[in-house]
Amino acid sequence: MGLLSDPNRRRALISMLTRLNAPICVVCYFAGVAWFMGLAFEPFTLRTYMSENAMGSTMVEERFPAGERALATGREFAAHKKKVGGMPVDWLVKNMQDRGLEVFTQSFSRTLPFPDENKERYIVKGTNVYGILRAPRAPRTEALVLSAPCSPGDNNNQAVGLLLGLAQYFRNQIYWAKDIIFLVNEHDLIGMQAWLEGYHHTNTTGMSWSPLQGRGGSIQAALSLELSSDVITSLDLVLEGLNGQLPNLDLANLFYAFCQKIGVLCTIQGKLQRNDWDSVSGYNHAVQTMMLMVMKQASGRPWGDHGLFLRYHIEAATIKGVNSFRQYKTDATTIGRLLEGMYRKLNNLLERLHQSYFFYLMPSLSHFVSIGYYMPAFGLLAVILLLRQSSPGVLSVLTPLVISHLTGVALYALPIRFQETAVEHFPVSETEAVVLTAIAIYTAGLALPHNTHRLLSGEGTEQGWRVLKLVAVLYLAVLLGCTALINFSLGFILALTLVPLAAFVTPHVPKVLSAFILVILSPACTLLFSVFFFQELQDMPVSFQDGWLLYLSVISQGILDHSLYGSLVYPLIALLVYPCWLLFWNILFWK
């Protein structure tokens, strides 16, 4: 208390902060990074535990017997899929009806803003088929969803087979207290988006769909199943959803608990759990797993069909069957039993999953880092921004602020608007046109602000850049703080690159070198590095040429995600982060 009221001590504190400002900032930065890297060290993390009492560990018995029959159904489905050349709607409807479900279909169509070259689609038309198993003596107020995508080619046939097998088995049981919706969605995420929008009667992305005829009340939890081979070696759990949202940790715990009980190998980020946490390689493994989660979460993309459920406050995860030719084999019956167990536990829920964490990182499936542990890492970075403010009229900075934001708006809006013009005048495809326009505007933005500033007010004053820096640093602090609260990974990655440049930029540093550093640390370059880093983490390093192509496709995917599913990463970067970065660029060229 004395610290605040005693003028002497206060003065001492302030003088220390100003004197040691630069070293403290450096220490904070490295402390933040070190803290973050320490999060993956097992003794520093918490073991996962089931918080929800209704899902206690030993209350259900799994008896699903019909794995082989499910696979046969899957093969039949594959044959019909091939015959129809898409979703075999009639076959699915008939099959679900035979299993005693109430069956409904939903058709949807969507024209993408520009052709998606990765998945080769532009005008998407499709049909979702879903069957509702009505719980006996339940008033249609709660539901669970099990979905499997109808993918092109030979993928996921087994998932649909298993889904139908489970439907048949579930239908004969008396214990259901929640309706169970079995959904087969076409065109993966677009179909899922259409179905969810139809179910909740919202329209956030301008998709056209036919209204749903049957519903089961409020959906409590959902699992999406991806299975492409008859026998699998391990199951992978995917949690990252749209805008970096994660399901309640209890869902991951539930999956892990059943994998342990039934004896199935389970992975997260495709990484098996290791017991040698005290060795270097064990630690590396944990860091790699956690970094993969951070990268995926920061991308703000839905990494499985479950990702879109999270917007509606429905806890969801994707379970992927992996066949990686290991020794350990698991057949469809076992996976069926695992799912049966999970659904029976979810069926026992009295309330929505809410007991456990919503904000966490997972260095392995059995350990997690909660928000209380990872936030200090970000806090140490953010405090630098507060330390680097130098006090001093505000009006003078209005021009650069407005101009940099206008550039941001141009970056957000123009690429899609001008794709046609670009295609007419240059020999490029629509996708390339969009991405290249975006890059062009981004680069043009570097030239704009300081030029206009010089034109408008002549030579910049010393006072002027200080005020601009104050505004820019505060702006960045608030921006990163808010981002990190919602999506820690994205906030942390942006802080990692933007904070140092925000700390050192003044008009007095060497121009060329600083300009180079500034460009290297700009959001676009961060994205480029992230692409390479991500490939490295996945043990699939790429050459620079391929990396660049990947980079371009990532940008186009980001723009598509925004317009298709309402992902917020692209607008965040274009409208807020990039203008903020331009302010620093402006400071560098103040004189």
Partner: protein
């Protein structure tokens, strides 16, 4: 405008009186067999020897027991139905009368619908006589309730599950999931709200249910949807109270007191089938008690009280875990029938065989010779009748175990003429939208429906966003009655009369905002969500019988030009599914954190403020030089005051 409104009102009145009439009529149809038995019976005995064509011709007379058998059987009927004829006649009669029946309808979906009805009639007047103390068949607990609370009419139902109209068609007696209670009080009641409160508490005790949770926040006074089903032409709805508890879970503890109200308990008669371990192994379970006063004769000179106890249940073909597609009484109820209730004047078992005239859908054994026809919910149905008061029904094994063996596969979904669904749209915890969809599947007739919505106060309806659209066009309701809610006191009540165009979907939407409750107002499981009771849709639906205007071959031409009234439309009440809405919920483990945080903040703030207030401030003197300090030391040693 005034004229328009006037016509509107008169139209409404007509509709309601009609609805009451038709409802009464429908409810009467099945037992009417026995009532008008006397009249019909004469005709029947006269035609005893009539052969098959004659019987065929008489098929279209709606409500009569028919025999296509030998003289012996007919004589038997005469013997058994003799006591039934006593009700309207002048023969000395017991003042009370008990009837029981079970209707089994094999449903389109392969499921079995079993509907029990037990009716006790008593020609006493609880109101006029000072004290009714001698009870025979009528349960005393209910009789006392009627006289103490001056109840004119009482309807209470407990339902577990939702009636699937699309698969099962219309139920005989509809009811919403959870508990529903509606009561008309006599005009003599002065403080209706207090009486209602007391009544719910008493009923709560009688039925072992949480009816005591009914209070002003979930009670409404519908202005049009619920009219008395018994005698009396009351229009003042201030004597009506209606409440639902969508959360109520119905189980054995509610069934036992319900069974105790029966004269034979569960010892004899049809009630032996009501074993809870099987009844609650079904897809749908609903039990109800209806009390009203009815006429004794056609001139309505004297009235009597009717207690109707109903129990409906649907057994699921799939989860009974059997491979053979067959049903029997034993499989459904784990009991067979061996006798009628000795106190019952009539005890019958009806099997709906309308869809099965040649036995192509299912096979029934033992077969029966008795047939009956009735118009139920606008559809002419044929029933096989088993009279339990007859010895021959039970055969040589002295027990009746009815067996239904399915032959065909499950059918597709039905298209009922009127059905409805409701859901909450939107996401997030701030606002939302309630959508109510009403389907009119009639190919060419439009008909009006009355929609009643009672929404708890914590969903704040934006009534200006109310919109009714059918076929993409705005559909203006001809009557709207809206009572806004009052926080923590009363719910929203919205009643509308809407015309549904033929073959259309009408969508009613209204937006709402979710209120933030006080932290003590949350239930123990706040994250489960909050229930909003079912909407009630009441309507006169044009019947399917009238739809077949071309199929007049069985009827003389002169009789079929105008569709006759009881067949042209019928009263239907349907309930939508209840809603489960999530409200913004605080993290209830948070108080601890909040206390810690608040204490810290208070400590920091208070500490520094206290520090500032109590500290004395003085201007610090600049440091004296070294020479001065030395001089002062010397001066102190000398005992001289310092410089």
């Amino acid at each position: 405008m005034a004229a328009h409104r006037c016509s509107c009102w008169s139209w409404l009145l007509i509709l309601f009186s009609l609805s009451v009439f038709v409802v009464a009529d429908i409810h009467e149809t099945t037992p009417v067999n026995d009532h008008h038995g006397g009249v019909d019976h004469n005709a029947q005995t006269a035609e005893q020897t009539a052969d098959q064509p004659a019987v065929e011709e008489r098929r279209w007379e709606a409500t009569e027991v028919k025999e296509a058998a030998t003289v012996d059987a007919a004589a038997d009927i005469q013997g058994t139905s003799a006591p039934e004829t006593v009700v309207p006649s002048s023969v000395p009669q017991p003042k009370d009368d008990f009837q029981e029946e079970l209707v089994i309808r094999p449903l389109h979906s392969g499921d079995i619908y079993a509907s029990f009805q037990f009716r006790t009639l008593w020609d006493t007047d609880f109101m006029r006589e000072n004290k009714v103390s001698h009870y025979r068949l009528f349960p005393k607990s209910l009789g006392q309730v009627i006289s103490k609370f001056s109840v004119r009419e009482l309807h209470i139902s407990f339902t577990q599950g939702y009636w699937r109209t699309m698969q099962w068609g219309q139920p005989f007696i509809p009811s919403p999931p959870g508990a529903e209670l509606w009561v008309w009080f006599q005009d003599s009641v002065t403080d209706v709200d207090a009486t209602w409160k007391e009544l719910t508490n008493v009923l709560s005790g009688i039925f072992c249910a949480s009816l005591n949770f009914i209070d002003s926040t979930n009670t409404v006074q519908p202005s049009a949807s619920f009219k008395p089903l018994g005698l009396g032409n009351v229009t003042d709805h201030s004597f009506l109270r209606y409440a639902t508890l969508p959360r109520e879970i119905v189980c054995t503890e509610n069934l036992t007191p319900w069974k105790k109200l029966l004269p034979c308990g569960s010892k004899a008669g049809l009630a032996v089938l009501l074993k809870s371990e099987k009844l609650f192994h079904s897809s749908f379970h609903s039990q109800a008690v209806h009390i009203r006063s009815v006429c004794q004769d056609w001139q309505c000179k004297t009235t009597s009280w009717e207690l109707r106890q109903t129990l409906n249940s649907v057994f699921d073909l799939h989860n009974s875990g059997q491979t053979k597609r067959e049903w029997s009484l034993f499989k459904m109820f784990s009991r067979t029938l061996t006798e009628a209730c000795p106190l019952a004047s009539s005890s019958k078992l009806y099997i709906d065989i309308t869809d099965n005239p040649q036995g192509e859908q299912f096979e029934l054994s033992p077969a029966t010779s008795l047939l009956s026809q009735a118009v139920v919910l606008g559809d002419r149905r044929t029933f096989s009748v088993y009279d339990l008061t007859q010895e021959t029904t039970f055969g040589t094994v002295r027990s009746l175990n009815l067996l239904i063996r399915w032959k065909s596969n499950e059918g597709e979904m039905l298209r009922p003429l009127l059905h409805a669904e409701r859901y909450v749209a939107g996401y997030g915890l701030q606002t939302g939208e309630i959508h109510t969809l009403m389907y009119n599947n009639h190919p060419y007739r439009s008909f009006p429906v009355l929609l009643l919505d009672s929404v708890p106060w914590y969903l704040r309806l934006y009534i200006h966003t109310l919109s009714v659209t059918s076929k993409g066009k705005d559909n203006k309701p001809s009557y709207i009655h809206y009572e806004p809610s009052k926080d923590r006191v009363k719910p929203h009540l919205l009643e509308m009369l809407i015309q549904l165009p033929p073959n259309s979907v009408t969508e009613v939407t209204v937006q709402f905002e979710r209120a933030l409750l006080k932290w003590t107002e949350y239930p123990p499981d706040p994250n489960h969500g909050f229930y909003v009771g079912s909407s009630v849709i009441s309507s006169l639906v044009p019947s399917t019988v009238a739809m077949h205007t071309n199929s007049t071959r069985e009827r003389p031409l002169f009789s079929s030009f105008f569709p006759c009234k009881e067949e042209s439309s019928y009263f239907v009440r349907i309930y939508t599914e209840p809603l489960l809405v999530n409200l913004p919920t605080p993290d209830f483990s948070m108080p601890y954190n909040v206390i810690c945080l608040t204490c810290t903040v208070v400590a920091v703030g208070y500490g520094s403020l206290y520090n500032l207030l109590t500290r004395s401030f003085q201007i610090e003197e600049p440091n004296p030089g070294l020479a001065k300090r030395i001089a002062n030391v010397i001066r102190r040693m000398r005992g001289v005051p310092p410089l």
